[in-house]
Symmetry: C2
Subunit: 499 residues, 2 copies
């Protein structure tokens, strides 16, 4: 059994950061909340249209007549004040900036439908926006697209206390939904660092994974129904609240992960699992083969550690720990996260925190969630005894957390998802250009996904070819043309730019 | 604690039946295997085209030149013998019969691609067929469609022992896959009565739910990748083996549950959960309120018990048992099934089995699957003590099963899925016509699905309107037109017949 040292538990594990990583030099933590982006004193973000080689498509521009029409559709919900438009034009990473002059704040699906019908007729481009916490620039305009914010569509419509099925509007903030269902002894099937700002509609539109993925699976499984407004204003009602429904094509799936390019999600029906009664966390040091120990010299020719880990001595032990863990913890295993020495050193240096365990090339974090505290502690204890006894693990610490410890900023998860963090003094296009082809080529060579978690948005649309064959990209374009023939929904995003 | 009476456990629970129910008077059990359908002495099934008001669409008919071309594509895999074509022309329920004169047995995706390219050019209709175990006539031709069987595409391509990801051809039989992964300490994420015959490709094409749905969720979550051949012969490669992949639209989702009308699934990548080390089953009698006891007279005006159960006294106790069960068994609960007195009486009468518990209007079957036998027994024990002590449950029996008890033929599952069984001496169109509108209208009134589990196929395509709004039906037609503009893939199925 490992010592229980709850106070030694690193405080950074308790913090929330949007996505899994504060990449590209952006500070993590308290600044994560939207609105802080435009804090006075921060240098202005360059306009996307000036920084990237992108050309405006021939959409109309918003006229006075359009504004009057919008005011009739959403009285009091038309924002044109340049000051108020600053924040929603800039992405969370502060590397992209649009120049939208109108933000609309509908309250109902009907209002969204009227807005889109008008925009479709007038050939006006629309940028749907939830909490604006995305990492790939999917939620901010590239040019002057109208921003359609879901912020006022924040009502819970129903909750069924036997089945755990929640139906709510797309603009509900994830953390508020979590609180709502937790009061009723359920939890949301997803949790992520940006939960204090992100909207459930945005989560679904970007197929957010997050911290509970290993246990509760993908939104493709837990989202039961959607109401979506199509590009021409048609309201598509796929809002069933049924766990099983085989009446024809499962149309809602099209919109999960399509980043607002095929339709705007207005209502979500989602299955919430029962709230676990016990949560345990263990932070472990995996076995250090002699050639890979902290004192041993690092060979000069190897690439960045994060890139070579799967082939590095010591990684096999991490995988074996994972297999043993799955077998012994079984149904209570809710997270298995991994990080390397460089990551721990950066955490220590930048957040001024000491590691609670001995130095090592690899660390593993395990979380269990279950319905019986005694049983869970016993299972975890058996696993740890076995792992220590067999030499898989050499040190560790445990925290039993009644306040639900969160696990934000780590490198490799049990779901096979690697968050590669590169930190630099400032954003450098040349550094980025030097890194990205190498990373994407390596990933493609491993049959990996160049965007396992954070989607495509504006930033990754031209690297899709690394992970999607031409036939799949062509079918994506055909689906876009079918559902949004004028291309007004979230243009310049998700699909590769046309040659 | 309840008495452990493993020998009193009803033997019918150990039998397999395709789908959840042997509806329409078809015998369940040993005859379930495909091939027995055409046993000598059974009366011939009337031709679908004569029994139903359906008109052949203007497809070409198979010529000698076509047969020669097929023989070149799949040497030795072209079946034209009328005797051999009898069984694949008739559905499992023996109420539908096509008159196909050709069955093709490709071994590879490339062969499927060449077949479809030829059929597309020649405007020949194609009926994909897996194990032919469907309940709605989706797997047999209506007229003379070419039957494309996946039976020889039965190779496992890879299995990853850390992640549990299985990649296999579409024609692998579910039971054989189960055996394969169980030898490696994993299980398939789905299990169903027809497992001895059904193909994994057919399972995915029909979005099969089955017995493990409550625990492992839908195929929309557990299928990680698909290879699909489109109507024109294009091979669409969505065959990732990644738990998270957000590179653009999740195209594979389109084909899960589309019943072979949008493309033919040739390869499946699927996530297998670790094999549980302990399985327990409890069969319980829920509380009987005085007005609903077995001796009390049944009011004359009420409809069939299966229809009125949700509003019937006693059903509230079933729901409360379910909630308590979810809370106390949590992560180990793997099935919660319910049946009424009429169902138990029929089982007793037709299978000559005595109920192991006292008579009651409602019975509940609970299955747990977990990684620690002691913990699971303790959790189940606590739950049963609580349920008996609080009066929710009045009697029951338990079976601890080391051979993995199967749970086939029951009425209402924890996933909200009701299998309504109607038995009669013989098939009667007038009885069916009297029942079906009432059942569908009632279901629609409850916001239910007229096909939660068994799909649409030929049989239910014209009742889709009860569960899908016109906008959704229109989008289904548009997707069909996009992916299969000539309509050659599984015609007369899944989509409503055009007015």
């Amino acid at each position: 059994m490992l010592p229980r040292r709850p106070l030694a538990w690193p405080a950074w594990l308790l913090r929330g950061a949007p996505g899994a990583a504060g990449s590209w030099g952006r500070p993590v933590g308290p600044l994560a909340r939207r609105g802080c982006c435009s804090a006075p004193g921060t240098p202005e973000v360059p306009l996307t249209r000036e920084r990237y080689p992108v050309r405006r498509l021939p959409f109309s521009t918003v006229s006075k007549q359009d504004l009057a029409a919008f005011e009739r559709i959403v009285p009091g919900g038309v924002v044109t004040d340049p000051e108020a438009l600053q924040a929603p034009n800039v992405d969370w990473l502060r590397t992209l900036r649009g120049c939208s002059k109108v933000l609309l704040r509908p309250r109902t699906s009907e209002e969204v439908s009227h807005i889109l019908r008008h925009c479709h007729e007038r050939n006006l481009a629309v940028n749907p926006q939830g909490g604006n916490t995305g990492m790939v620039g999917g939620s901010v305009p590239v040019f002057d697209e109208i921003i359609l914010s879901t912020a006022r569509m924040n009502r819970v419509l129903s909750f069924h206390s036997v089945s755990g099925i929640l139906v709510c509007q797309a603009g509900c903030v994830l953390e508020e939904l979590s609180r709502y269902v937790e009061e009723r002894d359920f939890i949301m099937p997803l949790d992520l660092g940006a939960k204090g700002s992100c909207h459930i509609g945005g989560n679904v539109a970007t197929n957010a994974g997050g911290l509970r993925f290993l246990r509760y699976g993908s939104l493709h499984g837990t989202v039961l129904g959607l109401e979506v407004v199509l590009a021409d204003g048609t309201v598509l009602d796929c809002l069933t609240s049924l766990r099983k429904d085989n009446t024809g094509y499962d149309l809602k799936q099209l919109f999960i992960g399509s980043e607002g390019t095929l339709g705007i999600i207005t209502t979500v029906s989602i299955l919430c699992p029962p709230k676990p009664r016990a949560v345990n966390v263990a932070f472990l040091v995996t076995c250090v083969p002699p050639a890979c120990g902290p004192g041993s010299p690092r060979p000069a020719r190897l690439p960045h550690p994060a890139l070579r880990t799967p082939g590095c001595p010591g990684f096999a032990e991490v995988l074996q720990t994972f297999s043993t863990c799955k077998g012994m913890l079984g149904e209570i295993l809710s997270a298995f996260e991994f990080m390397d020495a460089v990551c721990m050193q950066l955490v220590g240096r930048h957040l001024h925190l000491a590691s609670p365990v001995q130095e090592s090339p690899f660390y593993v974090l395990i979380e269990t969630s279950g319905s019986n505290a005694g049983h869970d502690a016993e299972k975890l204890g058996h696993f740890l005894e076995h792992a220590l006894g067999s030499g898989l693990v050499t040190d560790g610490t445990m925290a039993t957390d009644q306040r639900k410890v969160k696990v934000p900023c780590v490198l490799l998860a049990g779901d096979g998802n690697l968050h590669l963090n590169v930190t630099a003094e400032a954003f450098s296009p040349s550094l980025l250009a030097a890194l990205e082809p190498h990373v994407y080529e390596w990933t493609a060579g491993q049959q990996g996904s160049v965007s396992a978690e954070h989607g495509v948005g504006f930033r990754k649309r031209d690297v899709l070819g690394y992970s999607k064959p031409p036939g799949a990209l062509q079918l994506m374009q055909q689906l876009k043309a079918l559902l949004d023939p004028k291309g007004i929904l979230n243009p310049y995003k998700t699909l590769p730019s046309q040659a």
